[in-house]
């Protein structure tokens, strides 16, 4: 039986991943900047929130600090990253992500090493509220955050600024020749997109109650990439559709195993199905489920 709790839990994760996917869409889909370090910023948010709230600070302060720190980190790696060709950019972001993971894993004085941080308080006390209510509260908070980023991203991309993003993606020299400061724009996109991913990580930490260096693994970044590609990288709403599709497959395969006696591990069923869907998308709908639209300023 699919329980309401199971659905709510899937939705919370969908919304959190939709935020991270949206941050990738802005960066890659609109601006053409490759980023294989998405997990690092998601995890940064989770760690900052985890560290702060387990030390007695309120969750809202944790999230805000996470956003600020991630924005600054984004700005920092944008400095070397912005001037290089896009394939080097992919390597820089990947190395950055792995470096942080390894440091956090080995330097246990920072944040618990391999064990990570445990006992991160949820946003609502689970002892006094029914479990469904607890899930629903987290879902609503996540949705609110997503709506904020959704709206801001929509306004950004449907504006003269949005034209610059696409111009940078298509032809940087032409963009510069028509007066646009590509470097500043890219720095902004880096910073904003990192802050966005971090805020989702913050909520995630509160939701599951613990964080560990495993949050940084490349698999998470790749999952976000798959969500982006399937949903439609150069869109805003594709972020939700992509996240929902991939997570439905991921969690659906766990349920199917109770009904079908498949000769393979449910995890592998998930990989196979996601892979097939990815291939179908790239072959038959390379722009993703949602298509890139015209810029609507007025």
């Amino acid at each position: 039986m699919i329980s309401i709790e199971f659905i709510l839990d899937t939705l919370v994760l969908t919304v959190l991943f939709a935020i991270v996917t949206l941050s990738l869409n802005l960066k890659y889909g609109y601006t053409g900047l490759l980023d294989f370090g998405k997990a690092a910023f998601f995890a940064t948010g989770a760690y900052v929130s985890g560290l702060m709230t387990t030390n007695g600070y309120p969750p809202i302060l944790g999230i805000l600090t996470a956003i600020v720190i991630a924005a600054l980190m984004g700005l920092l790696i944008s400095i070397p990253a912005i001037r290089v060709r896009s394939d080097y950019l992919a390597i820089i972001t990947l190395v950055f992500s792995e470096t942080i993971r390894i440091i956090l894993k080995n330097e246990s004085w920072i944040a618990g090493g391999v064990l990570g941080i445990r006992g991160i308080p949820p946003l609502i006390d689970p002892r006094t509220t029914p479990y469904q209510m607890y899930l629903l509260t987290h879902l609503l908070i996540a949705l609110m955050l997503y709506m904020v980023f959704f709206t801001v991203s929509w306004l950004l991309t449907n504006s003269p600024f949005g034209r610059i993003l696409k111009a940078i993606r298509e032809d940087e020299i032409a963009s510069a020749m028509y007066g646009k400061n590509n470097t500043l724009v890219k720095a902004f996109v880096f910073s904003f997109s990192c802050a966005m991913a971090a805020s989702a990580g913050s909520l995630y930490a509160h939701y599951v109650g613990f964080v560990s260096p495993d949050l940084f693994v490349l698999a998470i970044t790749l999952q976000v990439w798959i969500m982006s590609i399937i949903g439609g990288p150069s869109t805003i709403s594709g972020s939700f559709i992509g996240a929902l599709t991939v997570l439905t497959i991921a969690r659906g395969t766990r349920i199917i195993k109770d009904y079908l006696n498949l000769p393979i591990d449910p995890n592998n069923t998930m990989f196979i199905l996601t892979g097939i869907l990815l291939i179908i998308t790239i072959m038959f709908r390379p722009t993703g489920l949602v298509k890139e639209g015209k810029i609507k300023v007025v």
Binding site: M177, Y178, G179, F188, K294
Partner: protein, 250 residues
Amino acid sequence: MLKATNLELRFGGFRVVDRVSFTIRAAKTYALIGPNGSGKTSLFNAITGVYKPQGGKIFFRGKDITSYAPHRVYREGIVRTFQYPKVFYKMTIIDNLIFAARNQVGDNPVSAVFQRGKVKEQERNLKKKALDVLDKIGLTKYAESYPSELSGGQLKLLELGRALMTDPKLLMLDEPAAGINPILATQLFKILRRIRDEENLTIFLIEHRLEIVREFVDWVYVMRSGKIVLEGSPNEVLYDKNFLEIYTGG
């Protein structure tokens, strides 16, 4: 208006622009001609900041703009088109034009989100202006289309239109009529002449065929192997005894 002295651009020890000096005066039209690979586009690139020149100076309206990045060159009022059209294929034609306009409030991300009223108002005005330009270059019916629907000649016109959106003080055109049929080419120069005379533009253009621009330009610079080797009025250059030799590379 524009003055370059001893401008030099090298690629791996090879001087593609070799100590070039020249002057562009306001409200006049200049042609830069020369055989393939003589460095014409490279000279444009050195002026507009695509590549930093290794030597020499560029002054624009009395200001030293040597080594300015392209977006700063634009701010001074210089705009250039590209020999091989560099338009934005995933944007509509009208978006390509509006993109180029100056001083847009919504270029700033904070204003794009929080000053929506101002952004919209400006957008409406720029849209009118873009439609005006489209009318001038004869692409009105393509306003909402994408560049992939245009022919090569029309792409050249779009490049020109985008440059006109910037109200340029100096308009630099890299082979505006290259690769398009002679009829359309003549038409293009007709359009260009009308716009130039209406707005009193200063134009610096690259063209292979002197005959085509002969009626259109006031002064001609001839380049060969990175150097300006000959200059004069179109007729002077055309009847210069060395002209043919420069072209045939004797």
